[in-house]
Chain length 379, copies 2
């Protein structure tokens, strides 16, 4: 397949459009679409929110009758199934487009090439594979969940240079500066769900929500992409094996969904007293009588969690690493030293050889205020 | 003082020249000199090694009679005292230069403006303060020692992302990759001395020397600045309070100087059996009956150690931090996790408030191979 420089330009525009959805589309993927007729863009669109029109629908609506004979650039294969909306591939056929350029095949097994076939069978020229890598980067969580039947897991932590998260007496506010904390808010806003354990809830009584007034201070913040009205609160997931949370904790006093993960059922009548929309899911236990994280990941797949953001303490974070479930590890490091007696970043087994330790691959390192942010990926 | 763009260009050239000395001048400062006559560079020079000609001497020798009426650009105030060589200020007067532009005043109390006065008294136009910051960056150790009567201390360490330096069983080879280790060699080559404790010697039996074959793999390596023939071995300084070293350790089997720092004298007769040139210095003890690091710094000032490179374990590194003696902290971090049971980076007191922890200022962060190098300065 060979694409022209113009093809590339239009697809880049479609990719830019797709980004406008990143704070709202979950559990759907981010998709952008550009329709071009006689060298002119006649329609553009992106997917904003599950249940509303897909990118192609918006672009076709803008293009109207000019879509006939046009080329459609779309970052993800047009859908072929009747979901919350009718199939986009059919809409493109009906509109009479001549050629469809697709960045990547939809990894959703409900689509997976069927959208392309539908177009081809209608006599449309279909070309796949332009800027695939950049299109994939729009939807890492969606792709991971479609392929692996589990969310993409990002573990986020903050520490001193010597890998400490709190003093021996538990004090930790604040290791990192306001810009780093704002950056965390900006990341949180893009997640399907934020997960932590009840230990963290007891220790810090966190809200685990996204605070617009804070995230505007992130160096990554772009008001064109996110204004306060389209802020979506990620689902908050709390591991509470033995139902120890009292529901009086701060996080239950904020609207938006809370998923309680336990090993046994609790009295759900008390949920009605919470401002949060609380739901319990029962998970199986592993050989250590703890919540089986692999089983939990399957449950979260059923809950359509694409991007799971874990903000946990040393024990739970360690469990994710031990279970080889960490796709991304984001560490905010303050240029401080807290010493050997302070609390450790992550609890892991007593490794006996250097081959056993956990090795990650550096993706990027960025200065954020006085701190640095290291993004590491699975090796 | 106002300088022209041409002035700046010539001084930048002098600064570039000065850098050619960085592996060899210790304990002298790096200095570069450019002599310009009628818009043409007629002489250049840099200081290469203590006891050999200063930068101005080399530049004057190249300029010969063209120095008469010329402008001399020099990165450091010309010396006024008879040291290992005669005063350069006098040489400039004798050569008949018309104007001398100086980047910075010499912080050496033996000079400290006297060189400038000598020039001015001879009727030469003297202008000071062009590119001072860049000139200072040529000689951080020299400047620190002249001002504070102690070496500039850089503590270098290597750890995992969670601040661990070795497994519980002591295994640590290799946390960082070959490029990071080559980079350390390149840094070592620029130091006056490398310091460690006897614990590290017993644990790792290190050579503590500079290995040319390794340092060529540093991303910073520049063969124009350092070829194998001008490689100088830094003095190796080992803290050995109670004379526990046997002298059979590997570092004694390599030529170049070793300074043993103890609290009491040992039998120096055995030194003659070592390939290394061994010398003992006796230091006073602090209230914990350990070597008093402040007293040691005074002794190292007398030994003309400008740049002290500390490669120590958690205890000794912690002592330098506790004594507020760390000017620069270079941490090579591997994107790995070793867990809570692995060994800690630095031993510090059990701080009771977050205000007590050690805060540094990030100077730079650079990817080196698969690892990152964080350079932090005193806040």
């Amino acid at each position: 397949m060979s694409f022209t420089e113009l093809d590339k330009e239009y697809m880049l525009r479609a990719i830019e459009l797709a980004k406008y959805g990143r704070f709202t589309t979950s559990p759907n993927p981010n998709v952008g679409c550009v329709i071009v007729k006689d060298g002119t863009i006649v329609g553009e669109g992106f997917h904003k929110k599950a249940g509303t029109g897909h990118a192609e629908v918006h672009a076709l609506a803008a293009a109207k009758e000019q879509a006939k004979g046009a080329t459609c650039y779309v970052t993800l294969e047009p859908c072929s199934h009747y979901g919350r909306t009718p199939p986009c591939a059919l809409a493109l056929v009906k509109a009479g487009v001549k050629r469809v350029v697709v960045a990547m095949v939809d990894p959703n097994p409900k689509v997976a090439g069927r959208g392309l076939s539908l177009l081809e069978e209608a006599g449309i020229i279909v070309e796949v594979g332009l800027l695939t890598e950049q299109a994939e980067a729009l939807n890492p969580g969606f792709i991971t969940r479609m392929k692996l039947k589990r969310p993409r897991v990002t573990v986020k932590m903050a520490s001193s240079l010597d890998g400490k998260t709190a003093l021996k007496n538990g004090l930790s506010q604040w290791i990192t500066g306001p810009q780093a904390r704002a950056d965390v808010q900006y990341y949180r806003a893009q997640q399907s769900a934020i997960l932590t354990g009840n230990k963290t809830v007891f220790a810090d009584d966190p809200s685990l929500n996204v605070r617009y007034q804070e995230l505007v201070n992130s160096p990554a913040f772009d008001s064109a992409l996110l204004d306060e009205t389209n802020l979506r609160q990620p689902i908050r997931i709390i591991l509470d094996s033995h139902n120890k949370l009292t529901l009086q904790e701060k996080l239950f006093d904020l609207p938006s969904k809370v998923l309680l993960v336990s090993l046994s059922a609790r009295d759900t009548a008390s949920f009605s007293g919470c401002k949060a929309e609380v739901e319990q899911i029962i998970c199986t236990q592993n050989e250590n009588n703890k919540i089986d994280l692999h089983a939990l990941m399957s449950l979260l797949n059923q809950h359509e969690i694409n991007d799971l953001w874990v903000e946990a303490g040393a024990t739970l974070a360690g469990e994710f690493f031990k279970n080889n479930l960490v796709d991304e590890f984001i560490l905010y490091q303050a240029t401080k030293l807290m010493g050997d007696q302070a609390r450790n970043l992550v609890n892991l087994p007593n490794f006996s050889t250097m081959n056993d330790i956990i090795t990650l691959k550096l993706h990027s390192v960025t200065q954020i205020g006085d701190d640095i942010r290291l993004i590491n990926h699975r090796e």
